[in-house]
Symmetry: C2
Subunit: 247 residues, 2 copies
DNA sequence: CGTACGTTTGATCTTTCTCAATAATGGTGG
DNA sequence: CCACCATTATTGAGAAAGATCAAACGTACG
């Protein structure tokens, strides 16, 4: 389950969502050179200001993108799931504009920048897939702006829970029953633009109203429609249904 | 100044920021087929849910990306400047996840989806440039999340003003003296996640403290360093300095 | 088994929102 | 060119969502 081959396969599955890859395309992706690392919770995969030399693929574990304001506040920008290529971003820009930190202990595969770049440019189908992949990330980011900018605390927290549930299910990391939330309430606060105290109160409120059930970090959603309504959630922006046209 | 050739030249200049284009690359970009349209303020260039058939390039005028929450609130996600290719986004995804609306009367050039897509895939340098371009947009979006999520009202408004000033200057649409802000205070509010009333109060406050000078929609920044400090602004995320390595 | 971290709760305070009214401004038709 | 109308900007008073401060409680891990 956590072998590198499996992780590349997961990356592959995501790329194929938006582009038709030939057997050769697939092969050359799986043949990409890489170096394996195991990193502890809290390690940085990328730091703002870095000049990237490689792109890391998350084999197992979770990570998040973050930036700090001048005043020292932290904003979490995105959560990376197992199988995500963490910094496709950095392969085509020369300096990293945000940091990526691990949410859990992780296995990562580092792919040299040039190898991936060359693949993207010489194989049009892979190029398309990579562009589409970054565009989906951008779409998620746009919804994140909406969440933080124009929803109240309850809807914000509900929305981020809906997003996790759907993204995790799409990768078969969650069942309809529920999922492990890989974040502390403080991290949830930095993702939603709230304070940890208020996140706690909102979570308690959602639980009290029967919209979620919690035991430790595990979250279950007994009435999906109800939570979706509270969150104003519509999964269109995840671009999950877009299957590449048959070859 | 507002001929289509000029606008494509402006697009070209942006693309060349991140990739080295050959004479041929340039030529094929400028030879792209297009259809010209003049549209009134408030028109939609793209609507959420649309299946895109073309990519519009802004020849003159301003536009903005937006999404609506279920509750009907609007969040502005980005402002598009003259010379921007508005929906490179949509060329590689099959359904548009947000809307683009005009901030002013605009001249736009519609480039057929297939033409641009083919160019991106057959000319690696152009492919690189397009990926880099969308990555820079994503970086701006990330800073937008930080702005709305983790800065107080004063810093938020100051930050968006700093961003405009720098982006406009980079395209020679503003001088050190100041610039025309193409938005109403209500739109500014939807961009910063505040209410129009509060945006007004913050603007008044910034002016009272000598951080900005306003007459109608024109904004001057008498003390750049002071405003930058209030905003916590650092232009790294705009990736402006990144010049393509010499060929 | 104790220590550090995360969660929960209460009390109070502040920022920002809401509602409402007034004043400018710009555009339009006569 | 002027008067009118619609939109945008400005101001005040009161309300509310969420922040801050502080303390207690759990739980996991070394």
């Amino acid at each position: 389950m956590t072998s590198p081959e499996y992780a590349f396969a997961s990356l592959l599955r995501q790329l194929e969502r938006h582009s038709v890859l030939s057997a050769e395309d697939r092969q050359s992706l799986l043949a990409l050179p890489y170096r394996l690392r195991r990193l502890d919770l809290g390690s940085y995969l990328v730091r703002e200001g870095d000049e990237p030399t490689h792109c890391s693929v998350l084999i197992s574990g979770y990570a998040f993108r973050q930036k700090l304001t001048g005043a020292g506040a932290r904003q979490i920008l995105a959560v990376c799931l197992p199988g995500d290529a963490v910094d496709l971003q950095n392969i085509f820009l020369d300096v990293s504009d945000h940091s990526v930190q691990l949410l859990t202990r992780c296995d990562v595969a580092d792919v040299p920048r040039e190898a991936l770049q060359e693949l993207a440019l010489t194989r049009p189908a892979i190029g398309t897939a990579i562009i589409a992949f970054t565009l989906v990330e951008a779409s998620i980011l746009r919804e994140w702006v909406v969440n933080v900018g124009r929803r109240d605390a309850r809807a914000r927290v509900a929305h981020i829970l809906c997003e996790f549930a759907v993204r995790l299910e799409a990768r078969e990391l969650a069942t309809g029953e529920g999922f492990e939330l890989p974040m502390t309430q403080e991290q949830l606060a930095d993702a939603t633009g709230l304070t940890p105290v208020h996140v706690n109160r909102v979570l308690m409120g959602l639980a009290r109203d029967g919209l979620i059930e919690r035991h430790r970090r595990s979250v279950a959603i007994p009435d999906w429609e109800a939570l979706r309504r509270v969150a104003g959630f519509s999964e269109l922006y995840l671009h999950l249904d877009q299957v590449a046209a048959a070859a």
